[in-house]
Symmetry: C2
Subunit: 468 residues, 2 copies
């Protein structure tokens, strides 16, 4: 796989590293293993290591480090825990990786206001662990135990987004270190505001290209009185997808509705030892609400599913059963890889208006059959969002080519249906050409904003769109 | 009241008007009455008339007009129906007002996807009228029958925001004419996306300073199975506000919860002929959901209210009763003015974290008593947002001064509680100094974005923040 990687300027690199070493000592590392790890994410994209890694401990330190980089026009790549899926952390122009995973303090819990303030390196599981005794929880769940900063940077979402929204909807305010080292707070803590440009939303999804997110004020939610999960299997993909579509259109406030196709269910059954289920298209549901409300939601959805030919709901009401079910869902990726030892996963996602979802999925699967590839499908289908994971032999160039060609066709199909090239993985450097195809007139506007805020193009360069 | 207004360059004005007249004929007006009307909004801010008004009929026409203005570096001010509240339409540097009220077509209703596409001049009531037979509705309701374009521009919200969010949350995509006349679509129609910068959210709330919004793709919702409204009166403001706070913290998905203080209730009772109610602090509730869900929500909230000393709920379940109740709420402004013939209203709003709301309101009311002014209070208190309307004699300079001083103290109080200087009215030119106080480090970032997208500062100049 080709990568458009260019080493950084040698003088800039030496000067910046010397200054950073002097200031931060052993927390500035140029060791090869550490650099390599910090140029690697969970995608199929090749590793591109940064020249050095700085383990930051505060916003002020990030600011100091960025100022040194800015003075040398030397790139800066923010890093959480490396779970990005489109090469977001690859140091395409060399430079300094700023690892914020040590900035992992929960700074405030404002239980009365249903918000918290965290450092960017706090992971979503760590936050929920911290909140455990407060009756509150943070619902956004992209599967990986990503950092909150990374989730902001890629506008992450996941299984709960159909009910609770994405990171776009759940960030109240950000503290960001800009390309010149200035520290900017984007908003106050009020739940809504009409005061000026929405800089919070400008940084959410900017993938490190406009600044380094160091602190996040987040919405949290009261743990619902009742939560229950159910599994329903279907004779074919269309009836499963149509059950989901009708559920959304009926206005049932379902908390999660996840689709797994036959290939993915087969993998999950054997990997996660799920009992009493078959390798058939399946929906995993979760309902949140009052006890009566949850029963009412579930009855409505069970009725829709039955009309579509679905099985009776198999319930997981006890917390441990719910956990097992969602762990199986979260391990879908590893379950898929386990079907083919030695393989590598190539995950990709698209999102379409829900009226086109069944058509998009059916055509994609039909096209897949013709390629002979193994690529299980999972989807946050309540949002019109689905994923394929191509399970490929990384040394087989022809398999890679066929996967690439199929993925390209899938994205173009989604775009032809007024969808987006990525519902939640982000663009990184893996989907730049598709972002350009998706929003051709918008790219020059994005580029102008980038140039205004990062005139020397040092913030995560080579990502999202070309600068010329 | 002083206004920082500067006439536009005479040569630019003459050249641009001649070109616009040649192209658009009678739809370019320089008549004084029309100009005056287009420099006037519903605020207390003095009218500043534009040099000319163009009645646009399409995105392409807006683009052509902006190109003529851009060629002459002559200002452009977008105009819907003139319901802004912070002088948003005042032509502070002269120039062309582009009136989009004639662009009032609903272009698409995608019922299956719960979205619509409208021209910017469609008003919210017109949209709901259009949707009447579809089982869908658009919930955002700022009171005034504003245009959807104007509501986007000021990030409007209103009574339903506590359940359905603000314009920030309900716009899927915008078509915008940029400062050089280019037409940009900001996003596709998918419900979520991680594809590039969130330009949609950048334009929502930009108050015409970055471009002219001409088309909007909006979320709509299925009309709930059951809707019912209730009124509850309280012995004092604190118990009313605390009822609201506890309702939100309990997670009841209330659709509306509106506070009216004793002064406002007195005005509404006499203006809207409300029977069986007293001039006491009052909450108006509305519940949406299934029949059982609405009953359950109402019982929970009634329980909370009783503990706080509230009266039994007075119900409005029939559509006509609900309509009467919400009309009384929407007419609160006119009811307040009717208390003092010949007066003018000066509405203002702030928003604070909900844990500080009771304190903020109580201190504001206490401070008000000392001024001797009449200023009823209403609030979208579920969001921490409240309004005062100073009912003043426009010819009494001392009253104006006292109102201004009180309003300033209220905003500074909200800021000291980590709140915002405006929850939903916007900044216009009325709150520029407070935006600067609220987000001091963010202003240079906003200014850089503005300079990048409107280098000649022709888009609604003189609003939001100073350019130097």
């Amino acid at each position: 796989m080709q990568v458009d990687a260019i080493p950084s300027n040698a003088t800039a690199r030496e000067t910046a590293i010397a200054a950073l070493k002097e200031r931060f000592g052993v927390r500035l590392s140029t060791g090869e293993a550490i650099r390599r790890q910090h140029g690697t994410d969970e995608s199929y994209h090749p590793t591109v290591a940064p020249d050095a890694v700085f383990f930051a401990e505060s916003t002020d330190e990030v600011s100091e480090a960025v100022k040194i980089c800015a003075a040398n026009k030397w790139p800066v790549i923010p890093f959480g825990v490396g779970t990005s899926l489109e090469g977001g952390v690859a140091a395409l122009r060399g430079g300094l990786c700023i690892d914020v995973s040590g900035m992992n303090k929960v700074l405030e819990v404002n239980a009365e206001d249903l918000d918290v303030r965290v450092q960017a390196g706090v992971t979503r599981k760590q936050l929920n662990e911290h909140l455990r005794d407060t009756g509150l929880f943070f619902p956004i769940d992209p599967g990986a135990d990503a950092t909150i900063g990374g989730m902001c940077a890629t506008r992450a979402s996941g299984t709960n987004a159909v009910r609770y929204g994405t990171m776009r909807d759940n960030v109240l305010s950000l503290t960001v270190v800009m390309a010149d080292g200035r520290i900017v707070k984007t908003a106050r803590r009020a739940k809504k505001s009409a005061a000026g440009y929405d800089l919070t939303r400008l940084f959410v999804g900017s993938e490190g290209t406009l600044g380094v997110i160091t602190e996040v004020q987040l919405k949290v939610y009261g743990i619902p009185e009742a939560m229950s999960a159910a599994v329903c299997q279907f004779p074919d993909l269309e009836s499963a997808v149509n059950t989901c579509i009708l559920t959304i259109q009926t206005g049932v406030p379902v908390a999660r509705v996840e689709l797994l196709d036959d290939a993915q269910m087969g993998a999950c059954i054997s990997h996660s030892k799920l009992e009493g289920l078959e390798a058939k298209p399946t929906l995993f549901f979760e309902f949140h609400g009052t006890s009566a409300g949850v029963v009412e939601q579930a009855e409505t959805v069970q009725g829709i599913a039955q009309e579509m030919g679905g099985t009776d709901f198999k319930w997981a009401t006890k917390p441990e059963d719910r956990t097992q079910l969602w762990e199986a869902r979260h391990n879908a990726y590893y379950a898929a890889l386990a079907q083919r030892p030695g393989s590598k996963g190539w995950p990709t996602d698209v999102c379409v208006p829900i009226s086109r979802l069944a058509e998009c999925i059916v055509e994609t699967k039909k096209d897949l059959e013709e390629t002979g590839l193994f690529a299980p499908l999972v989807g946050h289908v309540g949002d019109g969002n689905f994923h394929l994971v191509y399970v490929i032999d990384p040394n087989d160039a022809d398999e890679l080519r066929r996967a690439k060609e199929h993925a390209d066709r899938m994205v173009l199909r989604a775009l032809s249906m007024d969808g987006t090239c990525t519902g939640e993985h982000g663009v990184g450097y893996g989907k730049m050409e598709f972002l350009a195809a998706e929003l051709p007139e918008a790219i020059p506007v994005m580029r102008a904003v980038k140039q205004a805020l990062d005139p020397d193009n040092i913030m995560n360069p080579g990502k999202l769109f070309r600068m010329n």
